[in-house]
Subunit: 148 residues, 10 copies
């Protein structure tokens, strides 16, 4: 059922390259953030019609593609554990820091979780003399475990 969104993702990557666009260019066109726009184009998010229209406009997609952008995906684009080293490093962070996240979030907020749904993320380059760094800032709403 995700096939259409996966196919569209490949098509977008080609067009984006051919046009020399960056995710920020596409995101600016619809006044959204680059990470979310990228995730949408990679088939992991669903657009509202005006987002889809804006993306279709800048990438010269047809109507069916725009409709595909609006579809809600069956999410999960990764083989797990990830075989790609870039993606694996994030998996490794879960292995290494999972218990620390748990202890620190519970200490600060009590019993509950950080939402991965009411969630946003920024990805930036942080210049550094010893070598530039990837900087990721994420926020997720804290949700308390209901006691009932």
């Amino acid at each position: 059922m995700n096939d259409a969104k996966a196919e569209l993702g490949k098509k977008i990557l080609k067009i984006k390259k051919a046009k020399g666009l960056k995710w920020a260019d596409i995101a600016n066109r619809i006044a959204m953030s680059p990470v979310w726009t990228c995730a949408l184009c990679m088939g992991q998010m669903s657009a509202e019609p005006h987002h889809a229209a804006g993306i279709a406009d800048i990438l010269e997609l047809d109507e069916e593609d725009a409709a595909t952008l609006c579809e809600i995906p069956y999410r999960g684009a990764q083989p797990m554990p990830p075989t790609d080293p870039l993606i694996y490093r994030f998996y490794e962070l879960v292995l290494v820091y999972g218990t620390s996240w748990k202890e620190m979030i519970h200490e600060e907020f009590g019993d509950g979780i950080m939402s991965a749904i009411d969630y946003d993320m920024i990805l930036e380059r942080q210049p550094d003399q010893k070598g530039d760094r990837v900087k990721i800032t994420m926020t997720g709403k804290f949700l308390s475990y209901k006691r009932y």
Copy 2:
């Protein structure tokens, strides 16, 4: 081989609770960040002797415990996929955002990865009227894939 570090982790959680300390208190004592200090106590990092001494001091640990803090762990504290919902949400982020991280980091930096070794992280509460948020800021050095 991690057994000593895992045992020590449980012991530290008890002492920390009994003394009413926070990770920030322990971290301040050794002038390190709370996340790293927590990961160290959870058995996922290795301390230098002066860190271990500081932690032993504030938590009233004995010398053997201090030595255990300095040991380099066999890392990886998680069953995978994580069964705990708080930790699972981070695993889910890899499932959903893995390809976006890949596309965006390559666009900005070229072929390579974000290091999970030359890496740091801050975890904060971000007040929000609709419900406070967990804010995580991470930076990792970008490493270029060597062409040789």
Copy 3:
């Protein structure tokens, strides 16, 4: 780290049987629902101190046990797939109805999920001439996928 909560769970099952108590009796003592109270005793939830005190009182637990009830668990008590037939049937519902839940919830609410954190459940006997039925009523807050 869950060992204490798991041990306590077994102890509670024995005391409960010896005293001839039902989950509803224990739940009434602390004015909470039977399902949540059972999940708490099985080591999957964390109590507030007054809940723990009430349960300790009715079950004659000591202070350490009461403290254990207040601890936040590393959740996930099941081998997966479940080997026990009663529990497996719920796993089977996910296999069979997973896509239907997805289509129906998205139709009604749009893109997002039913929370398993801000969540409650009632379990009842529903008399039926052809054989009584187990009736489970669950509600979970709908969370919209954030577009940002």
Copy 4:
């Protein structure tokens, strides 16, 4: 062997969207419940001929499609563990509440299980000031383990 039913499921989703129908509309046409009707269309149930005829009528399906609706499926539409967050939350409920279901059902009914075959389910929106909730009500016949 499920291929025909899976293909039909995708076709129905497209027609349903194009016609602006809801699951309730389709269900009403055949005087069945929306959840069962949705599960049927998603390829997880088998229809009687008059159900198939009604659905074919409202969705303008051909005879072969109607026959496909009547076929008994090889059930199980999910990768497990589910990669989609909406479906995963139900899997998580099994992880967290599995032992509680077991203890509570045995307490009330004795040794046996809740049937996932003689089973029905309702899915509703429950308005709530803090955010509407998904409400699911399920009943399954209790089956006693035979002692022989």
Copy 5:
């Protein structure tokens, strides 16, 4: 939680051997079938008090053991796939005959399943000149998939 039942199973095997009893002897004592009695002693079934009393009597078990026999088990005593050749052959039957069972039961009964709960089984020796055969006769109630 099954530990007590597993331990008891080993104890019963020893006593049974020492006393030179057969499963049929134990089963006759409580007027039940040998298969069910064996499954009960292996920790996979729950006894009613009078069954437990009879078994405790013939095997000279104490009261705690009798109570353990009455407990409802977390079922599932096998590693899967089974490593033991005798048990593996049954697993192989599922691999080879699974689709035939499905086609034949649906042809005869329509959409539904053979219950593994309202289920009984007999195991016998069938003399045969070319080598005696194991004969297993099982019946399970047919349960129709509910259409609702």
Copy 6:
């Protein structure tokens, strides 16, 4: 390599339905049992030429199909664990009764196994006032573990 046999299985199911035949009708035509005939058609057994000829005759298959029936399959038609509830119940029987089969067969026959190769099976409807039952009778030759 099983592709031809799997394809033929689907084709036979369609023809059988179109002709209104039952497995017993096809089996009678070749004077074999319905279970074996069904397993053959589902691609899990190999026919002798006269069986294949008989089946080709009643189902109007061509010569290539008849040859395909005679081919020896790479057996194993199931995903494991089975996702389909009907087939899963048999898998569950292995989980629950595996150790009982082992203890009872060894008690009666000594060290060895029940053959799944020199094996036969009958599947019948057993009328029952509380609901008809599926009755399966299987016999397998007992094979002694060789001591050498």
Copy 7:
């Protein structure tokens, strides 16, 4: 349930080493083959009483150990895939030669299998100028798939 046989295996390995015995010495004592005797001592076979008596005699085992040798094991001593290189090479043979065994045995014998129960094996050193070779000769009874 295999614990006793596994423990005994370790004990035998120690005694065998201390006494400077070879498997052939132990096997000769009971007039059986070295491979079977070794498999028996490693907990994978069951002895008849006179075998057990002979082994107990040569190894100075007590009566309980002799009884343990007679017990029928839950077979399967390997983690799979094997982590040990010596054992892995046999697993690799299945990977590489599995289809050839299938084609050649069916060509010669028709549809059926080589029994792993009515089975024997000899392990020898085969002198060779380029380096001595391990020679394994195995025979297993051919079992025809029953057509019924």
Copy 8:
């Protein structure tokens, strides 16, 4: 990358059947053993050009097929654990005899392994009054673990 060799394997099986050839016939043509020849045709070995020419000649293959026979395969033709009973029995031998092979080979040769590369095998029918047997004779060079 093995696709060409796998396709060729299927083609060879058809031609071999149509021509009424046996593996021994094909092997004789190139003066090699039947097992190796079969493994080559099944895509698990690589031929030298004169072997390929001989096989192409007897089976009337074209030049591209001959070239395919010479290609070095990505080996491993089995799903593991094997679902086919004939192949599974060899897997079972690893489960049951793995530790015996290890103990016996180390006793005779010291620390090292039996090579699965410098390896050969013969498969024969061994007549037997109680039923003919499959006889497999394999030799593999013993390789000492290097101490350095």
Copy 9:
């Protein structure tokens, strides 16, 4: 997404064979090392345009192929555990030597890892009277675990 790179890999292998080229020939053409060049052609590395141009020139690839060589791959070309014996031996080295690498690298460098990104490798034939050897020399930058 790797499909294009995988397809190109197969195409290159054919052309390379037809032209009688070696990896060293291709590598010399672009003044890079043979291992990296081979990994690039196998779809596991990304080229800079001048590398791609050089390879396209020597192999007579078209512009689209050259562009494909420049694309950053989703890495990971292996089924794991590897089924091919040549590749498996490297996996086995991780099984056997993993802990030794860990102890020795930490002893020499402290807490950190050897980079698999800032990494290079040479593969050579090392003549040896007892049989030539494969010699692999790899260097990876040591990365210290950051303490922060």
Copy 10:
């Protein structure tokens, strides 16, 4: 069966640390290489008596420990995939470079493998201005696939 070797490994790590020894010191004492000596102490190799005696001498081990060093291990000290980042990087090399190793070794040597048994390895620090590097040099005997 590896328990004794694993226990001894932990003991040696403690003694080595207390005595301030390096692997090279221990290796020099027995005139062997540091990598092999480390692998031996980590329980993955077997010593000859004079190696064991030398190590026992420098580490003040008792006779039983020396005997344990001489035992042939059940090899494989790693969970797979490795959870520890240092060890995982080597696993990643197999994922990324597996096919390149295969193509390059076959090009140079023909069909066969690099032995992981007749194998040696050196681990060194390679000074580098941009950060020192870990240098690993390994050689393994090439073994030709036997054609027979």
